[in-house]
Amino acid sequence: MRKKNHQFKNAMSRSQRIINYIFLILVFITMFLPLWNVFVMSTSTALDAGSSGIKLWWKSFSMEGYEFIFKNMKIATPLKNSIIVSVSGTMAQVLLASLAGYVLVQNDIPFKNAITSFIMLTMMIPGDLTLISIYQLNKQLGFLNSYIGLIINGLVSGFCILLMRNYFLSVPYSLAESARIDGSSEFKIFYKIYLPLSGPGLATITFLEFVSKWNSVMIPATITTDSNYFTLPLVLRNLVAADAALSGAPLARDNAIMAAIVITTIPLLLIYVFAQRFLLSGMTLGATKE
């Protein structure tokens, strides 16, 4: 009884609570309706999707948007490209970031501070501002219009390295020391002791990196001109490029564009459902001060 009373005092009054709920319901509507609208339009006929109205429920259910986007717009190629680039890029990032993170937790390795400062310095160089030189570099290396170019730009980030270092720091150093005395090689210590004990860290950077690589617009827009190497966001951008909508010569009807949006969103939704816990903790970690 006492506890109940106490809780009541520590909460809002009834009218404040109602106002709060109304506010949150409005927020929910603003956030959710646009997404729902996309889904409904993507599964409507081109005629219904293109007609005016609120379009929050089906007049006629149809998958022709998806058919069009796969048959006429050949979205399977960018879908494949996006999967190849994001998956291999993420795997490389996880491997390299954890290797580098391992180096930073060695107790008395010479130049540790210098290496840490160097990695932090690279975090301060904004990749988007060196875009022109990145284009030239990729041109020199012959990486324009290639998977390797799409994968290698943004291969490692200082952020992931420092995140892995923070997870590795919680692994007891004595474990590594005793393994070393037993004659284990460094690499063995790394993958037999450190990696298995840093599961949440690995999961966090895997999901964060996958999301950022899947969503990447700038690098593909810079280094690809051949549509065989376009990734999904790039194709989607070209579909919705507003000039076409204004001049009345769109590449695809509204339901097909919405279908492309749904296809691009689904992997992110899946990731979100499975990895919500890690994603949220990773986001918060990134924003704490060192």
Partner: protein
């Protein structure tokens, strides 16, 4: 002797250094080298072929005297500051509001749905809003319900709405992220402070004002610093949502640099502008850090 010992230690860690090698090589080639190349190119005349020619600061004066760039600079600042302000306020209110929900299921749902757009690419978010704002889109549909007999507006082709649209769609996409950061800080506040305040008869709103918000200041500072780093660097949104009618109102520095350097091969001007943006970013974040006393706090 000391030198010898250092070598010995380095030798002992040779395998560990080897693990660092690919990362260091990557950073030197794909991060440091492009930066240096960019700065070097900003002093050179743009040429498709042949040797580069040193022309001093001509590219820089070119940028300053180019009205398109000065326009882009003010577009970037107006949209950037507006976006940050709306995102920050919306995120804060959202975090405080979500924290009052006692129902765990409701809490998860609202948190997920506000956070979800942050994870989506600008291609997705830009695309869906372009369609919602189109003459046949949902917004016109909703307005038709409220005001019958009105004629549909092509929102994306109205320069007067352009900046507002950019700011609000950015806020729609990003506010949930700030809310997550702030909410994480809210739940870590010591609950006994609230209990003490409740015993003293403080209302919930007073508790929020005098306990929650002051306790959020360190997180708010982090958010401000994060926000200023990204202030001048909004490419994706404008790349997806721009069109020729509203370009003058929203075309920003990064898009212009991309357009000049990658599409028009005007590398001199573009790299000069990029270098200026880089310097401006450092200057702005330095000033902001000083103003909010970021480095002295906790």
């Amino acid at each position: 002797m000391a030198m010898q010992q250092l070598w010995k230690r380095i030798y002992r860690y040779k395998m560990v250094y080897l693990m660092l090698l690919p990362v260091l090589a990557y950073f030197i080639v794909f991060s440091i080298y492009p930066l240096c190349l960019g700065i070097a190119n900003s002093f050179m005349k743009s040429k498709m072929i042949g040797d580069s020619e040193f022309i001093g600061i001509q590219n820089y004066t070119g940028v300053f005297n180019n009205p398109v760039y000065t326009q882009a600079f003010s577009n970037t600042l107006i949209v950037g500051v507006g976006t940050f302000a709306v995102q920050f306020l919306f995120g804060l209110i959202l975090a405080l509001s979500i924290n009052e929900i006692r129902n765990k299921f409701g809490k998860t749902i609202i948190q997920s749905v506000t956070y979800l757009p942050y994870m989506l690419s600008w291609s997705i978010v830009g695309g869906l809003w372009i369609k919602i704002l189109a003459p046949t889109g949902m917004l016109n549909g909703l307005l038709n319900l409220i005001i019958p007999m009105r004629s549909a507006v092509t929102f994306m082709a109205e320069p007067k709405y352009a900046r507002t649209i950019m700011i609000l769609t950015s806020a729609w996409k990003g506010a949930g992220y700030y809310a997550v950061l702030l909410l994480a800080a809210v739940v870590s506040i010591d609950q006994s402070i609230y209990e003490a305040a409740a015993i003293d008869g403080a209302s919930r709103l007073n508790q929020i004002r005098s306990i929650t918000i002051p306790n959020l200041v360190p997180t708010m500072k982090v958010i401000v610093v994060l926000g200023t780093t990204g202030l001048l660097r909004n490419f994706d949104q404008i790349y997806v949502m721009r069109n020729s009618v509203i370009d003058n109102k929203i075309r920003n520095l990064l898009y212009l640099i991309y357009n000049d350097g990658i599409q028009k091969f005007n590398t001199g001007t573009a790299t000069a502008a990029a270098t200026l943006v880089l310097i401006a970013t450092f200057v702005i974040s330095y000033i902001i850090r000083k103003v909010i006393k970021y480095d002295q706090s906790y």
